[in-house]
Symmetry: C2
Subunit: 404 residues, 2 copies
């Protein structure tokens, strides 16, 4: 046991940074104290009262303070976050970070820095807010029985899709509401284009399979182009459209991963993951499917996850990245076939795309759609075409017939 | 990293013991090896082929073997389990155990033995099979924000209730099937009377709130007396009957806990936990509700959980029982009011029980019921009356209106 108070240097005082204040105040036995806060603008009005003496605009006031045990980095800007986190690690200061974009882009370097300087970077809050996905993949599913991690990783798009689907709301209104409630990032395009889910998926894959894949090598398709006719189609088929991120072992030697909207049937676990919630299905040999569900967005849920990482540091916890040194790590492949629904109007989808098999074609003056098989590698190749404003694509899960 | 093979001495070669064999074979990177197996009867026919040279009937062959790094204890008999586990801990040998009855009865002593002899006892498999509830409560929810843990902890009764409820099967047939599929314990009364759920709840409470409560001090009511008329009643009200275990903070200073059948409404997370599955809702300040769901019974799911504990030992993991030394631990109380449905025929329930308020009374020549408030302490006092063969009682959740 260690009852010493852990002294935190905080970077960023946005939604989650403010949440940390409330959470630490409520957790009486956490023995954590915020000693200094680095912000961009001292005079910005904030939702909480903070002693002005705690605030600074100079990172060095935290980085060079020998009384600070731990840095909590909650900056919205990935570049500034990268500079702070790498500098802290180089100085041997442990860091808890929630910046998925920065972590997903630089994870190999960040792992190397932790090793070299004997310090730790924890980031469970970066994936799925309050659900302890990373920690469980790292510690509990610490073996090679894992076959698949699949889930709804972005609370903001899920909230929007829920409002549109279940409440018949207009897309723009739903987006505005998500931002107002603090679920959406300051730049919502990152959520809507699937990038936020992608970053989380990259981090999850490192802890699930021990393999790092660069963002630009992964097919990512968001919900920006979703249209009334897609919603109508899904309703008729009694499925929901969810933005799903997944990493799947397709054989003993290979795995694939991608982020795409998906038609989700009623009997799937993720079907009932609505509003700002996240839900993750972990499938493995022997234990079959485990489902974890909780609030994936919002100030307090994310802050409580940050607190869990802070507490873990009291006991010297660090990710060991054990799976990365396993024998026979699977290789990433995009040479797999997906079945997709592509809705279009002016773009000649069936002529321009290398479809492998066409199962259904529906044409109308308003909007048409095709259901066809296509190779994931070809989806990557034709990414620009697929993001044309008249096109929306949705995955029809078929790989594992009893898939979740 | 540590690539040394971990050498296991196994006690018990029943359903889960046999599962361990398959799981270790499949997990190539586990580096675990079963070196010796202690069984009661060498000649008993088993579902798997085991090298006879591995088998012994003498515990000492494992306990005294300096080449054995870890004992995995999967004996069905709680007394034999207690003798082996305490002796192993006294000799400083770490143990992974799945015996919830033994652990729940002796946890304070087992914690003391771990401390005294600087060794470890891990038992995540003892609660909810493959769902990592204990590890998450211990490590991730390692703060005092936790308000409630509530769930379906027994796969076998849940399987029976699902068969009866959703498939219109007869109770005895469903029970026989559960045993045949390996979900039910060798003595099914432990499942059906709620004792298995109780033992798990006691273990969970130690890791959730840092407080140990003895089995005999906790109200436990099973499903043995469930009757067609109860099922009919529940169906009319569009609820399911589930056997639910819960520990709930009722104020800043107090918590309560009990195991009881409960009417579960459709909008609750645990409503859709069917068959042999387990589901646990963890509720806390800030993060609200988290739901964990997975296979709670069966050979391979439980064995994969044992493997997770074995792997954790490779890295010296042990439960720290940190919450037990928190300031201001809540006190256990049974002085709370529950609203219950009590079905009866000959016993004069409304006259004999100290009901606090009666909301509904239905009488008929066949069977009657009453819906009333009663103190949990009084339920304990009248436990014998309530288990009369003509009585079945079900909790109507009302404490937290938005409860799961």
């Amino acid at each position: 046991m260690n009852d010493k108070t852990i002294r935190i240097g905080l970077f960023g005082l946005g939604t989650v940074g403010q949440g940390i204040f409330s959470v630490i105040r409520r957790a009486r036995n956490a023995h954590a104290e915020i000693r200094r806060i680095c912000v961009r603008n001292l005079d910005k009005p904030r939702g909480i009262e903070v002693d002005p003496a705690l605030l600074t605009t100079r990172p060095e006031d935290i980085l060079a303070d020998p009384e600070i045990d731990l840095i909590v980095e909650l900056i919205d800007d990935a570049e500034a976050s990268y500079a702070i986190v790498t500098e802290a690690l180089r100085r041997g200061i442990p860091v808890v970070s929630g910046n998925k974009a920065m972590i997903a882009r630089h994870l190999p370097e960040l792992i190397e820095l932790q090793r070299k300087h004997g310090t730790a970077l924890l980031y469970d809050a970066s994936s799925c807010g309050s659900i302890p996905v990373i920690r469980n993949l790292e510690e509990y599913y610490d073996n090679d029985l894992l076959l698949e991690v699949k889930g709804i990783l972005n609370g903001s798009t899920n909230y929007i899709l829920s409002r549109v689907f279940d409440h018949g709301e207009n897309y723009d209104d739903a987006l505005a509401r998500a931002q107002q409630l603090g679920f959406a990032e300051s730049d919502p395009s990152r959520d809507i284009e699937g990038l936020d889910s992608l970053f989380k998926l990259i981090i999850i894959t490192v802890h699930a399979l021990g393999v790092y894949v660069k963002p630009e090598d992964i097919f990512t398709y968001g919900i920006a182009n979703i249209h009334d006719s897609d919603i109508r189609y899904a309703r008729e088929k009694r499925v929901k459209i969810k933005l799903v991120a997944q990493v799947v072992k397709v054989s003993e030697e290979q795995f694939t991963m991608f982020v795409m909207p998906e038609f989700v049937e009623k009997n799937r676990y993720i079907y009932s993951v609505d509003d700002e919630y996240n839900g993750v299905v972990i499938r493995g040999e022997c234990y079959d499917r485990q489902f974890m569900f909780g609030k994936g967005a919002g100030s307090l849920p994310t802050a409580s996850s940050i607190l869990s990482d802070v507490m873990a540091r009291r006991y010297g916890y660090r990710y060991e990245y054990r799976k990365m040194s396993y024998a026979g790590l699977p290789h990433y492949t995009t040479d797999i076939t997906l079945r997709v629904y592509i809705r279009y109007s002016t773009t000649e989808v069936t002529r321009l795309l290398p479809l492998r098999a066409i199962y259904e074609v529906y044409t109308s003056t308003e909007s048409s759609y095709v259901i066809a098989d296509i190779c994931l590698a070809d989806l990557m190749k034709y990414r620009d075409l697929l993001t044309a404003p008249d096109i929306f694509m949705c995955n029809i899960p078929m790989f594992f017939k009893d898939d979740d």
